[in-house]
Amino acid sequence: MIEGFIALYIFMLAAFTGYEIIGRVPAILHTPLMSGSNFVHGIVLVGAMVALGTAETVLAQVIGFLGVVLGAGNAAGGYVVTERMLEMFKSSKEDA
């Protein structure tokens, strides 16, 4: 179990990390980055898997199942879309 204040510290440090990452990004990468961060919160999949795995009632199974479906969609779709966008970033010095 992550204790209250430790959790708060994690939250604070992660928030600063997030700000720092975006701070100096050129505008051309805004869309891929939005898409990339959209992929990263697909980690919600693992939480949904635990929720489904520990489900004891039919209701919990149904909701958990829906959660995993949605989480998997977020992760898979987010990855493909981001990868496709970034694939296209080449400078004229590189060859296609």
Binding site: S37, L52, G64, G67, G77
Partner: protein, 472 residues
């Protein structure tokens, strides 16, 4: 006893794997923030996701509790959710990327809300008040991000074309929030005994709120809204991570929440629209209002004349807009530019921060056409160069080159930073017809003395220009 020990070890392995995943996410996002390393970045983040997902199958919480049925359900759900998303993500054309991001983001928010629902319906007696509060907050945010993102998707996809506005709108949202707050408080205070009815009311109201917030927002503001929901989903994921004690979710969710908030702010600044305006103001209500200073007449030019003008120019700046992408003209435009470059013309692309349907969307579309990113310039980099340019070729862009944003304080876009295409010696505007832009505002650029209109489909026009330039 032995079995328990073994599971404890596995617990360490799982936590270590989550740590690695969190590290890879941060590293990946960091790499994605520079064009040179961006392509590696998504691979790192992807590896993190695979690691985290795989070890979750042996998560200690599942030890002994998980039934075979639940394992089968897990695999089935991953296939049902993941495979169609993967395939649709592969197939979707680049112009439709923003709505796909909205869709996948909504799914993430929905998943977070589902975790909250499992916890809350399951009874909260084993949780502290703090955890219950976080579960409830994550539930609201996730549900709002879910239904809101789906509306955003439907709007950009053209499934919803109307923008509903009515007088009591903000009041309705306020009332909904009050109901959600009361129901949420009841859920927390009853700690597990709130009853199905209250919890269900709570979730249904949160879903409705997402719809009522998003429906009145016009298409032009959608990118900011999608970015906001992206940040909110991150936050919901972080909260639910606290609830189910999952460090990877806390870190990844918080990083996205913070990064997304920052990105939303950058976008809102780029459009010169405070976030509160986007959410609670009515941009489109100006549609019927001041049509701007009309009166001048538009002059037409033929493609052959325009082509000659560009072929003999020293410096040409291309200002592409979403219209170019809709006409799928970016490839032809780049061919045209390559031809001009061969003839010794200095060609640059000027990109407004909100060209396309998301900030940076136009860069993606140009990159798809093979335009190297070192030919592409931001608003700040290029604006001083227009004065030295012989021709600015505006193709499919409208509001982002409208000089009334500089000159007319009554205009709804007044104050928005624009590309100074009008400062070039000659302005050629390629346009399908005489309509107005996304915001419905008349464009004063079209009637300037140095502006000539080149009517036609973007791809055809680019082709004709290419033929003309080839001959000279």
């Amino acid at each position: 006893m032995e079995a328990i020990l073994a599971w404890e070890h596995i617990g360490t392995v799982v936590n270590a794997a989550y740590f690695v995943a969190a590290f890879l996410f941060i590293l990946g996002l960091k790499r994605m923030s520079s064009p040179k390393t961006a392509r590696v970045g998504i691979l790192w983040a992807g590896a993190g996701m695979v690691v985290a997902t795989l070890v979750t199958f042996v998560h200690p919480k599942l030890a002994g509790e998980v039934t075979n049925t639940n394992y089968i359900l897990m695999l089935l759900a991953i296939a049902i959710g993941g495979i169609p998303a993967w395939i649709s993500g592969r197939k979707v054309p680049m112009t439709d990327m923003p709505q796909m991001v909205a869709l996948y983001n909504g799914m993430g928010g929905g998943a977070a809300a589902c975790i909250a629902a499992v916890v809350l319906y399951g009874g909260g007696e084993q949780y502290t008040t703090t955890i219950m509060v976080l579960a409830v907050l994550g539930g609201i945010i996730g549900a709002v991000a879910f239904s809101g993102s789906l509306i955003a998707f439907a709007k950009l996809q053209g499934l919803i074309t109307k923008t509903w506005r009515f007088p009591g709108q903000n009041f309705l949202n306020m009332a909904l929030m009050a109901v959600i707050a009361v129901a949420g408080a009841q859920v927390v205070l009853a700690s597990g005994d709130a009853g199905m009815a209250v919890i269900t009311t709570f979730f249904v109201m949160a879903l409705i709120l997402g719809v009522t917030i998003t429906v009145p927002i016009g298409g032009a503001d959608m990118p900011v809204v999608i970015s906001l929901y992206n940040a909110l989903t991150g936050l919901a994921v972080a909260f639910e991570g606290f609830v189910i004690d999952n460090a990877a979710m806390i870190i990844a969710g918080t990083v996205v929440g913070a990064a997304g908030t920052m990105l939303t702010q950058l976008m809102a600044n780029a459009m010169n629209r405070p976030l509160s305006n986007v959410l609670f103001g009515a941009f489109g209500s100006a549609e019927e209002g001041a049509p701007g200073e009309e009166g001048g007449t538009m002059k037409e030019i033929q493609a052959s004349d325009a082509g000659v003008m560009m072929a003999y120019a020293e410096k040409v700046i291309v200002v592409p807009g979403y219209g170019m992408a809709v006409a799928q003209a970016q490839h032809k435009v780049w061919e045209l530019c390559k031809m001009l470059i061969e003839k010794g013309v200095d060609v640059k692309f000027a990109i407004h921060p909100v060209a396309g349907r998301m900030p940076g969307h136009m860069n993606v579309l140009l990159a798809e056409a093979g335009v190297p990113y070192d030919h592409i310039y931001d608003l700040d980099e290029i604006n001083s160069e227009f004065e030295k340019a012989d021709v600015s070729l505006v193709i499919g862009a409208n509001d982002v080159v409208n000089p009334v944003a500089r000159t007319n304080p009554d205009s709804p876009i007044y104050g928005m930073p624009i590309l100074n295409a009008d400062k070039a010696k000659n302005v050629i505007v390629v346009k399908r017809g005489q309509g107005t832009g996304f915001s419905g505002i008349q464009n004063a650029l079209f009637t300037l003395d140095n502006t000539q209109m080149l009517y036609g489909d973007g791809q055809e026009v680019a082709n004709k220009l290419l033929q003309t330039v080839k001959e000279y």
